[in-house]
């Protein structure tokens, strides 16, 4: 475990501007069609020291919001959340049937195979904010997604 804790920051340091404390993998966006202004972004995020995801932004959409989807009986409910907790060392998965990032005001249709840059803001326990750059892969709107995140990132 010690070795792994040390390894993550080292690996992350190689990834351009990615901050050493937070790693993001399997980032993907559900593709859109013409006139569709909203879609979802999903990824797995791990904070070594712990903290919370407080904001996200991308040039591909006017506004990103953090949302939580849940089922109450057969009713799907969606709520904006102010932050997503990142327990130390624990990977939190953002996926269609749970916590996710909603993209509002998508500027142009997103086609499968495109890559969209995004910036995530993570706040640690002391209130210090860091940003993480991610490249999200666009997957076809019609592609089936169960509870697992997109495949093929590795």
């Amino acid at each position: 475990m010690q070795a792994r804790l040390r390894l993550i920051p080292i690996l992350a340091a190689f990834a351009a501007t990615t901050h050493a404390q937070v790693t993001v993998t399997d980032a993907w966006i559900r593709g859109t069609v013409a006139q569709q202004k909203t879609t979802g972004m999903f990824f797995s995020i791990t904070s070594v020291k712990g903290g919370k995801l407080v904001a996200a932004a991308t040039p591909a959409a006017r506004e990103l919001q953090l949302h939580d989807m849940s089922m109450k009986g057969d009713v799907m409910t969606m709520r904006q959340v102010s932050a997503i907790d990142l327990p130390a060392g624990k990977t939190v998965r953002l996926e269609p049937n749970g916590l996710h990032v909603m993209m509002f005001g998508v500027a142009h249709p997103l086609s499968a195979g495109e890559t969209v840059p995004a910036t995530l803001t993570v706040e640690d326990a002391a209130g210090k904010r860091e940003t993480v750059q991610v490249q999200a892969r666009v997957e076809a709107l019609g592609a089936p997604h169960g509870t697992s995140a997109g495949k093929g990132a590795h």
Binding site: K37, T38, V75, M78, H145
Partner: protein, 208 residues
Amino acid sequence: MTENPDSKAARPPAWPILVAILAIAAFLGVLLHDRRPPAHFHSIDITGAGYADDFHLTDMDGHPRSIADYRGDVVMVFFGFTQCPSACPTELARSAEVMRRLGPSAPRARMLFITIDPERDTPELLRNYVHAFHPGFVGLHGDAATTAATARRFKAFYQKVPAGDSYTMDHSTLTYLFDPQGRIRLVARPDMDAGAIADDLRTLLDAA
């Protein structure tokens, strides 16, 4: 009935054999009758329920549509909206998988996606959206009042939820299944897999 009181002395009475034949026939009759409608569906059987019976909406090409327009086919009906990150694309992807599993029967199955967000879901957007999943899927829309009345008729639920300067929708996620006679028969839950729904549609087609 073939009763003949005169023949009783000559040969053994025929009536026990008759009774036996009738009993066997009745037994077979019950068996055959039980096959149609079949007792077992994966979905919830709401045959004869006094709701979810019909709609009067407009398709993405501007044609007025009701369930009668799809007579002869089994029909899946789902209420959703295109700006939906989860339940709706999951449902439509599952429906596309149902079509694949139906194989040669697929041309006799329809998927109707009724928008609960007619304000944003223009006919063109609906078409682009449902066709991203399957070229045969149909998007239906109505004005706000018609949409609300249709949802009430199906006991479907939806409501706008503010999200920043935009909004999203909470909504029920059941799929309504109609038989080829245009009668509401089943309700499929969101956690059912495509194979189970394809089974149910095939059963409805076979019974027709």
